[in-house]
């Protein structure tokens, strides 16, 4: 899938993946890939700044979790993030409905 088509929806994808529970960076990347059946492969280098931005905007909260000798930063969705995700879903449905009506017009009765 074209990268530019995905880039504009990266924030919404990350918020949707975190809706089910907190995840760390690499788990978020693999979750997006699995949900899309491999169609979406996010460049990992773009995900970490996006997560940082969403945390700064108050949609996520980040915390360090120690796994043995390693530390992973886990992100969790906030109430603000849930509201934003709901808005993004509504906007996406309206958008696809409008585009679909033009690309695949219903036959006139």
């Amino acid at each position: 899938m074209r990268g530019d088509a995905v880039r504009g929806h990266l924030d919404a994808l990350l918020l949707a993946v975190l809706e089910s529970g907190p995840l760390h960076g690499y788990a978020i990347i693999t979750a997006v890939q699995e949900r899309s059946d491999g169609a979406l492969e996010l460049r990992t280098g773009t995900v970490y700044p996006a997560l940082n931005r969403l945390e700064r905007l108050g949609m996520l909260t980040g915390s360090w979790q120690s796994v043995g000798a390693r530390r992973r930063r886990c992100y969790e969705l906030t109430d603000n993030g849930r509201r934003t995700l709901a808005g993004e879903r509504t906007a996406w449905r309206e958008f696809t409905s409008a585009i679909g009506a033009v690309l695949e017009p219903r036959p006139s009765a």
Binding site: H24, G25, A27, Y48, N52, R70, R73, G87
Partner: protein, 239 residues
């Protein structure tokens, strides 16, 4: 390139608050290590898995701008917080210097005013880069605003085009000079030449066409060629 080399190369090009930068780079290193471990579990050798993870992450030139944007915002927020904390101290100085009416008090009041303005700007910077800047409905609002703003201008453009077309039509009607290539009254006009009248078409069923003065014996098929042939037949009969 190994994971540590890639993270070091990324660190060399990034500039910003040390704490934020270290946190981001630690997260990147751990993420790359997780990716390499997953690829190694899938069967790749450790070195190849690390190289593949680095390649999937993206080159330093590709990913550095996104990281730098966040570091720049973090630096701006830190500066804004520092300046905002210093403003109340200056305001207190302004209050203490208010009793005296000398040059010192005037200077203190001026500095206090500057501090108040700086505090407002800092508060604005923090609000613009923090949770209040979350683009909830902003893209849709901007899109709708752009659409609504474009509609009057589109209507205005259509009106201008209609007025312009009407003016051109009026100009052509009043202007008697033939214009090259412009069709006028249904006839093609060439510049400097008289208007050419298109040939009249006869009815295929042989209907009568209007006769012109001087036409004799013009019948249903009075074409010039037909007239010449009839004249030659008449002349041959006489002879």
């Amino acid at each position: 390139m190994t994971i540590d080399e890639h993270v070091a190369a990324l660190s060399d090009v990034l500039h910003g608050p040390a704490r934020t930068k270290d946190r981001m780079l630690t997260e990147v290193r751990e993420g790359l290590t997780d990716a390499a471990d997953a690829l190694a579990d899938a069967g790749l050798p450790a070195d190849a898995a690390a190289r593949r993870a680095v390649r999937d992450f993206g080159s330093v030139d590709d990913v550095a701008p996104s990281f730098q944007d966040e570091l720049t915002v973090a630096q701006a927020r830190r500066t804004a917080v520092t300046a905002a904390l210093g403003a109340p101290v200056l305001l207190l100085c302004w209050q203490f210097a208010g009793a005296d009416t000398g040059v010192l008090s005037h200077t203190a009041r001026l500095v206090g005013a500057v501090a108040a303005v700086a505090a407002l700007l800092c508060a604005g910077c923090l609000a613009a880069t923090g949770a209040w800047a979350a683009p909830r409905a902003l893209p849709r609002t901007v899109a709708w605003a752009g659409t609504i703003a474009a509609r009057p201008s589109a209507r205005r453009d259509r009106a201008h085009r209609r007025v312009r077309a009407r003016r051109e039509l009026d100009a052509r009607r009043t202007d008697r000079r033939p214009h090259a290539g412009v069709a006028r009254e249904g006839r093609v006009v060439r510049a400097g030449l008289p208007a050419l009248r298109p040939p009249r078409l006869t009815n295929v069923t042989g209907g009568r066409r209007p006769t012109r003065a001087g036409d004799r014996g013009a019948g249903p098929t009075s074409r010039p060629c037909a007239r010449v042939r009839r004249r030659s037949r008449r002349s041959s009969r006489r002879s």
